[in-house]
Amino acid sequence: MQVTNEEFKPTIVAFCCNWCSYAGADLSGTNRLSYPANVKIIRVPCSCRVNPMFILRAFQRGADGVILCGCHPGDCHYTTGNYYARRRMTLLFSMLDYLGIERKRTRVEWVSAAEGAKFAATMNDFVATVTKLGENKRLEDLRCKN
């Protein structure tokens, strides 16, 4: 059900890698840079830990948008993890697009531990984008709706 933009608050799931983007999120907090409270962060050791099943499950359990944050390519704490994640997510997002799921519901952003501002800005932008798209209908599981 499409509600007006002011009322609808999307649920965003953000997978953040422990070494870079989670630290970046932390930094944005200590710098008092605000981003919406409806972004739920899940910390993973590396962006490579994220399985396509996680993305789908997030949508199933109520997420309207899913974003994956990791170290910049070349700077992965585990050297090569984010390279694999990059390929994996590109293919997955392309497949979701192919099935007709709105492209802007998924995103990958490389955020380093020093980029608190970028983290906040990214989340603000992503929430705004997904708010415009509205509630996730195409990958929803009605059983999990509140």
Binding site: L56, R87, T90, L91, F93, Y98, G100, R103, R143
Partner: protein, 326 residues
């Protein structure tokens, strides 16, 4: 070709090269051939058939067969040899226990296409050059063989045998411009709404029989994630449209980069869901983004999802791809 293959099978058994042969066994009708293991000359003489309905890919059976005592012979068509290589690469087949006879092929027919062309109550078929003469309970129907070819054979990607211990018949080359991505491109050119509608219609017919997974040579997990209660996504039937999509997205993803496009998944689907369109989408994306890659063409190159380049495209490239915007 059938006579050549039968003779070869008997020869390999009798000269001790192998102690069993994987082949196609005659059924009740001419089109219902079952993969079977032949151990004696009598069995081969009586029941071994090779025809335009010998679509079954034996590579997957070799995973179990090659681990048994002795040696097994398998007749592999060009598309089957790609699956064979892929399984070798993944160390699933013990090469020493298999004697591969590569057989040239110019296309297998799809019995459902013959039915769709108006043949009901099919009793027999004769090849007459370009045509197939189909005998039915309700009279004879003549169809053009080229129109009855299985979808995967119409856009065959390669006549080349990429793995064999010996060859039967003249094989050919990799086919450029097979047209196998045309349907994918057509879908990509639709709007997201149209694509969603298309896939909703197709996937709603899925009965979760798992035939696609069980016949796929790339799906060889001892315990599939959908059968494993600990995975959190195990299910035996889709409770709603989300679960319908999830199974297919995840399965296509799990075989991405390893799928050789053998077409078995679409052949076996009881509801005629065009599953190859999902797998070919991944192949097309991989070709465009990470360089042309044909899974199973050799046994050395790394599959694209187990590899990377430092200048790979960013996932945001998806936003900029062709097709209509939302």
């Amino acid at each position: 070709m059938q006579e050549l293959i039968k003779a070869k099978a008997i020869e390999l058994l009798e000269n001790g090269t192998v102690d069993r042969v994987l082949g196609w066994k005659a059924g009740e009708f001419f089109y219902d051939l079952t993969p079977a293991v032949f151990t004696t000359r009598e069995e081969i003489d009586k029941d071994f058939v090779y025809s335009v309905f010998s679509g079954a890919n034996f590579s997957k059976y070799l995973v179990k067969e090659s681990r048994k005592e002795g040696k097994v012979a398998a007749f592999l068509k060009p598309c089957d040899t790609y699956s064979f290589n892929q399984l070798l690469k993944e160390h699933r087949i013990l090469r020493d226990h298999v004697h591969v006879v590569g057989i040239a092929c110019d296309g297998m027919c799809d019995i459902d296409k013959i039915r769709a062309a108006g043949a009901k109550g099919i009793l027999g078929v004769e090849s007459g050059g370009e045509n197939l003469n189909v005998h039915t309970l309700y009279g004879d129907v003549t169809v053009k063989k080229a129109d009855m070819l299985a979808e995967r054979c119409r856009c065959c990607k390669s006549h080349k045998l990429v793995a064999f211990d010996e060859k039967l018949g003249e094989d050919g080359d990799v086919i450029e411009n097979s047209g196998r991505f045309d349907e994918v491109a057509k879908l990509e050119a639709m709007t997201p709404d149209e694509r969603f509608e298309f896939w909703r219609g197709e996937l709603s017919r899925c009965i979760r029989c798992n035939a696609c997974r069980d016949v796929c040579p790339a799906c060889t997990c001892e315990k599939c994630v959908f059968d494993n209660d600990k995975s959190g996504i195990a299910n035996k039937g889709a409770a709603n449209s989300f679960e319908e999509k999830m199974y297919h997205i995840i399965r296509a993803f799990h075989v991405a980069g390893r799928c050789t496009d053998c077409g078995e998944c679409s052949r076996v689907c009881p509801e005629h869901i065009p599953l190859h369109l999902l797998n070919r989408k991944f192949i097309k994306d991989i070709d465009e983004l990470y360089g042309e890659y044909q899974s199973g063409a050799d046994t050395e190159t790394r599959p694209p999802l187990m590899d990377y380049r430092q200048d790979d495209a960013d996932p945001s490239v998806v936003y900029a791809r062709g097709g209509k915007r939302e």
